[in-house]
Amino acid sequence: MSAVLSPSPGGTAAGRSEGVWVAAARRFRGDRVGMVSLAIVAAFLVLVLAAGLGVVAADWQVERGVPDAPPTFVGPKPAQQAVTVAAPEGPNADISAIDPLAPRYTEWAEAAKKYQTTEAARAQTLPFGADRFGRDVLAKAVKGAQVSILVGVSAAIVATLIGTVLGALGGFFGGRLGDLLEWVYNVFTAMPGILLIFAFAAVFGRGIGSVVLILGLAGWTGIYRLVRAEFIKHASRDYVRSAEAIGASAAARMFRHILPNVSHVVLVQLSIHVVGFIKSEVILSYLGLGVGVDQVSWGTMLAEAQSELILGHWWQLAAATAFMAVFVTAFSLMTDALRDALDPKLRGAE
């Protein structure tokens, strides 16, 4: 990498070596794959923000096309042959004498006139097609991106917070507290993760908040382990002891002195978990344990797509898959670049 060889920029602060974050940013900028992925992730985040503010895809529930309208480039559905029923012969029988509802027909007709109904013109095709209600698949995929990414990022933040705080406490203090936290860790890792998620899902119900909580509570153990190991390593370092010598409190040593020095580990773990949690959210929503029924996520889109595919309506599946694949690939590659930039020793390792 040429970037590694380039002299450190700036140099305004005479002789002061660049900080770890500046160096990492410089290494990251030199990574072309990383920069492209960062741009894609940033574009998605702008999309999520726009969808959150209601600028785009706010009307995803509006039925704009005919049911199962195909994408524009495929062309409209061939018109189905109307099944003709032979017109009945003979005069209509007058049953008004025995029809118990007959006296009220005029009354209802009057009442119905008070309401204006307009039959909205429905498009035969939409750019990405429509689902079985005629809702725009593109708008759904954008709104789904908002929900899925929001859940993934929030859950990763929850898991990282729990893992970092517990890992810091366990690693820094050790002793009884450390043993207690190790016991909690052992309990949480005693069963496969997916089972833990299901157990939480059984009691918390569905909805965005529940999914965030479920994934966060079930997914903090890996971060705890790493942060704890880092804190054990750092707690006995000279700079921490010096801080203790000048009277820094335990909390200050943990979070003002050690945490910045292990924050690169935390940051990389955070972004690794975002990818994992987005995938988990998709599966939970597919199984009906995820976001609510009035919301859309990539998982609920895939759940609908399964029955649509049998009828030959592949577009919803394609849209959800494409959105998810692009975002997750970009995020994974960005995470790899981030890890390489923050921890050059790990470069090239899995």
Binding site: N186, A190, M191, L195, A202, L287, E350
Partner: protein, 312 residues
């Protein structure tokens, strides 16, 4: 060895106790009222009260926990609220289907991923290697769901090579007719991550001194990889297989749901959807116990495979 085993088994007790406590508090503290779930939607207050009385829900919390512990120790796992089937019976009847699917998956994915990863490690650093790595990243970013949905549609519905779904009472028929498609799909999906992982194991080993020595004495790259690297890399590979072993008793939830395989995975999902607490609780404990036993066996197996390992 005996002392080690006894100590390890003794150490399982607090963890298992913790799992019991977690499960108990989780369902007691956050779950909805079992009496109301059991009574159904049209129950009168009297019926709900009667059920509360019957389940001991009016007792103080610690008495309830005591009752719960006693049930667990005496292996009385209770009955499913939804079907009234004893939970132990539920496990025994659902486990064979799960194993019929999961064992072939685990065996096949391990046997396929090792040569794949070895081949990729052989051409490490080349364009092929990097292309495969990018390809696996993309393959991994597509949801597991998509592969199963599309695979079922193409191979079973369109091409008709396999039944779309189904299960029978005969093990042979299941293995020959119904299991192949789920197994193939699951293996195909897990091949990408496994190959990446095993490749990194091989690359770790290739960096060691003994490989340089082997090269220095003039061994070919092929024999270095097959005779030296492969054998040493088997240790992390075995660890990885051992870690996924408890999973075969849980089953692949999605695979079982998709293909209507009457296994444990589908059962637990049904239980979650029906708020069938006894089944979920028993299942959590059962998997925790299995995981711990498997971990212990793995550690013992290490000792047998690698004499350098010291059990402490």
């Amino acid at each position: 060895m005996a002392a080690y085993l006894i100590r390890r088994i003794w150490q399982m007790v607090p963890t298992l106790f913790g799992v019991v406590l977690l499960v108990f508090l989780l369902f007691k503290g956050f779950g909805s009222d079992p009496a109301e779930i059991l009574a159904g939607q049209n129950a009168s207050q009297q019926q709900v009260d009667a059920i509360r009385q019957q389940l001991g829900l009016n007792e103080p919390l610690w008495t309830q926990f005591g009752i719960y512990l006693k049930q667990i120790v005496s292996f009385d796992w209770g009955k499913s609220w939804a079907t009234n089937e004893p939970v132990a019976n539920l496990f025994l009847t659902r486990l064979p289907a799960t194993l019929t699917v999961m064992v072939p998956i685990l065996v096949l994915e391990t046997l396929l991923a090792i040569p794949f990863a070895l081949a990729v490690a052989y051409v490490r650093g080349s364009l092929t290697d990097r292309a495969i790595m990018v390809l696996t990243t993309v393959a991994l970013s597509i949801s597991f769901l998509v592969y199963v949905i599309v695979g079922q549609y193409v191979f079973a519905f369109q091409l008709g090579w396999f039944p779309v779904q189904g299960w029978s009472d005969s093990v042979v028929r299941n293995l020959v007719t119904y299991a192949p498609l789920p197994v193939l799909l699951a293996v195909a999906v897990s091949l990408a991550p496994q190959t990446r992982l095993y490749r990194s194991f091989f690359l770790d080993e290739i960096g060691h001194d003994y490989v340089r020595t082997a090269r220095a004495k003039g061994l070919t790259e092929t024999s270095i990889l097959l005779r030296h690297v492969l054998r040493n890399a088997m240790i992390p590979i075995l660890t990885n297989v051992a870690v996924s072993l408890p999973g075969i008793f849980v089953g692949a939830f999605l695979i079982e749901v998709f293909f209507s395989i009457p296994g444990l995975g589908r059962e637990i999902l049904l239980a979650v959807n029906r708020s069938d607490y006894p089944v979920i609780q028993a299942f959590a404990l059962y998997t925790a116990a299995i995981t711990m036993v498997v971990n212990l066996l793995t550690d013992v197996a290490y000792k047998l495979v690698d004499p350098r390992v010291v059990l402490k």
